[in-house]
Amino acid sequence: MFLGTLIYSLVNAVTLALVALGFNLTFGISGIANFAYGALYVLAGFGSWILLNKLGLPLFVSLPLMVLVTSAIGWLLYRIILIRLRGMTISEVIATFGVGLAIVEFFRYLGFVEFKYTLPVFVEGSLFIGGVYLDLQRAIIVALGGVLTGSLWIFTRHTKIGLAFRGIAQDERTALCFGIDSDHVAALSMAFGAGLCALAAVVILPLGTISVDAGYDVLLKALAVCIVGGLGSSIGVIVASFIVGVAQTFSAMYLGSHWMMIVTLVAILAVLVTRPSGLFGKQKQLEERI
């Protein structure tokens, strides 16, 4: 039972990391808290279902296509709405939350509330590890988490766009002096964030059914992990995902499943009280308050 708990806690941790990476990337680069994040997750899920079942596209065409479409929507969200509100944090939150609500409730209005909306797994079958079966889809999630983290690290250090991202994240005004267009970078960060969100959706949603309310759940999970890890810190997101993910699974196993949510909330509270900017966050004004 311990090995099984360890394996599934690892899966849970990587799932949380995948869910939170996009949100964290967007905030870290452009300072925009994208509260439409959960809605984009659901949009990617339903969009993939429509491409698969209504248009009859193959699985490995539908999913990448939906990731690209969601990225484009993220880019448009910045270019049409957020560019006008740049710098006004509360307005950005309200605007993105409003867009997110509109997307989720639009799907609910269209009748996407039944249980038939599922995505097929990539590969059928299970791995047998030390007496525990782990389905291949979950194994793919773990592998993808590792590959994505590595790819993001390489991207932000060895590509022009990645370096521009880091420049804007470190000091926007100085980056502007170097000719980096902050609006262009912010739009790209929204696109990348949305794309990562969609990627998380298309690999995680085959585990169950696609539900409109998953949008709210995903946003909460992403926020929880980012708050614990520190908004804007990729390392913080990874570490926080593991802390929360492992704690959730072990507490569910050894204390009771109803402790899963409590663990998350306790983690958030503990971090906010001791380190308000998160474990690896860098918002000094929050630290100074305590």
């Binding site: 599934y8 899966v11 509330v113 039944e114 249980f115 038939k116 299970s126 169950g208 309310d213 759940d217």
Partner: protein, 428 residues
């Protein structure tokens, strides 16, 4: 005085006189349609299909001329409102604003379907009692509403439930568990349930009753709505060598439970309530991996039962009207029947007066899609049992290869016996 001012004063005076004029003996509304209010969570499949079922029944009744109200034929008109009480994070008081709105703004003469969540129903009972509007609920299942009615029968007499309650579905589940024990020698069970009022009550009732029946209860796990990993519970069930896993879920994420059960190859039969597995489309949605699963259908009609022709009529009529088969196993069929029950009560009472209408409802004896509908005189709960000629009936279905849902319990309507999946062996 200027002419314009005189004209203005005369107009105002005329309007005042008009407002004081005696009302006609029959106000326009009394010959107009009878408003049926459907305040529920329309953004959820059960709520949506309940509304569709009410509309279907209303259209059928209206096509035959409507309802005779003391000598006047009047038609039904359905007004709905999405109170979102089933959506996570929606406070109950906010949801109940919709209930009050449909009574006050839309002038509903009766409420059908009602709140989705039991918490909202319990809180909404006072609103119903305050406005004296008969309600025929079909979704919220808590017996606590019946306790309230028993404690103050005069205040809460307007509240009826046509759908099943927790007590009855526990009875059906226990009947199946008894069959599993007697037929296959199973005696170890693990309960996994959603952390909401009706499921908590059901889990406790199951746990106590199954232990009395000689089952070993290996554990009970509660999962919050929205939970996405059921591995702890499944690992515990596997470690304890559970032969039966008894799930109690109505949330979409329960689909993850089923898929995880499959992928983790937990050698226990899934027998309980997983709402995503009830409808005919579940076979395709879960890629045919649910063969062998036993799932409860709370009211027949959601599954057509050949031995109850009205259930087949409803199932076929719904498909013809809406182009899809009913998918929800709880709510739509009693919602359909509740319109006919109400119509019959109105014709018996000869009036829409809530007190007389309520008295007529109490005497209901109607053969509908869910069986024979009669209300318990103390609790206004439709009586469920195993014989559709005497009571309303729920059933247990088993998924078979090829995507067929076979009714296996109760015996009065069963099409076949339980068949163990090929990967399971009987314990005797």
């Amino acid at each position: 005085m200027k002419r314009s001012i005189r004209v203005w004063l005369a107009t105002v005076f005329a309007l005042c006189l008009g407002s004081l004029a005696p009302q006609p003996l029959l106000a326009a509304g009394e010959t107009g349609p009878i408003i049926l209010g459907v305040p529920t969570s329309l953004g959820f499949t059960s709520g949506k299909e309940c509304l569709n079922s009410v509309v279907l029944a209303t259209e059928e009744i209206n096509s035959k001329g409507g309802v005779n109200v003391g000598g006047t034929q009047r038609k039904f008109q359905v007004e709905s409102i999405d109170i979102r009480d089933a959506a996570p994070g929606v406070p109950v008081p906010e949801a109940l604003l919709g209930l009050e709105k449909i009574i006050l703004d839309k002038k509903a003469k009766a409420i059908l379907v009602g709140p989705f969540r039991s918490e909202a129903l319990l809180a909404g009972m006072d609103i119903i009692a305050k406005h004296k509007v008969p309600m025929l609920g079909t979704i919220a299942m808590t017996p606590a509403s019946e306790d309230k009615i028993k404690q103050d029968p005069d205040k809460y007499k307007y509240i009826f439930r046509v759908g099943i309650n927790v007590k009855y579905f526990v009875g059906y589940q226990l009947g199946i568990m008894k069959q599993l024990k007697e037929s296959f020698g199973f005696n170890k069970v693990f309960i996994m349930h959603q952390d909401v009022l009706w499921a908590r009550g059901g889990a406790k009732a199951f746990g106590d009753a199954l232990q009395n029946q000689g089952w070993t209860l290996l554990g009970t796990e509660a999962y919050p709505t929205g939970a996405s990993d059921f591995s702890p519970g499944l690992l515990k069930a596997q470690a304890g060598a559970a032969q039966v896993i008894l799930p109690i879920f109505d949330m979409p994420e329960a689909g993850i439970l089923v898929k995880q059960w499959q992928s983790m190859k937990v050698p226990a039969l899934m027998a309980g309530i997983i709402v995503p597995l009830a409808g005919s489309e579940a076979w395709k949605a879960f890629e045919g991996k649910i063969a062998g699963v036993l799932n409860m259908v709370f009211e027949i009609g959601s599954v057509p039962v050949p031995k109850v022709p009205q259930s087949v009529h409803y199932f076929e009529a719904y498909k013809k009207r809406w182009g899809v088969e009913v998918q929800e196993q709880h709510g739509p069929a009693p919602a359909y029947d509740s319109v006919y029950v109400l119509a019959k009560a109105i014709e018996t009472a000869g009036t829409l007066d809530p007190d007389r209408l309520t008295d007529a409802l109490k005497k209901t004896d109607y053969k509908g899609a869910i069986g024979t509908i009669k209300f318990d005189p103390q609790t206004n709960q439709a009586i469920f049992g195993n014989d559709p000629t005497q009571t309303a009936v729920g059933c247990m279905i088993q998924w078979r290869e090829g995507g067929k849902r076979v009714v296996i319990y109760p015996d009065a309507i069963a099409e076949d016996k339980i068949v163990l999946p090929s990967w399971m062996k009987a314990a005797k």
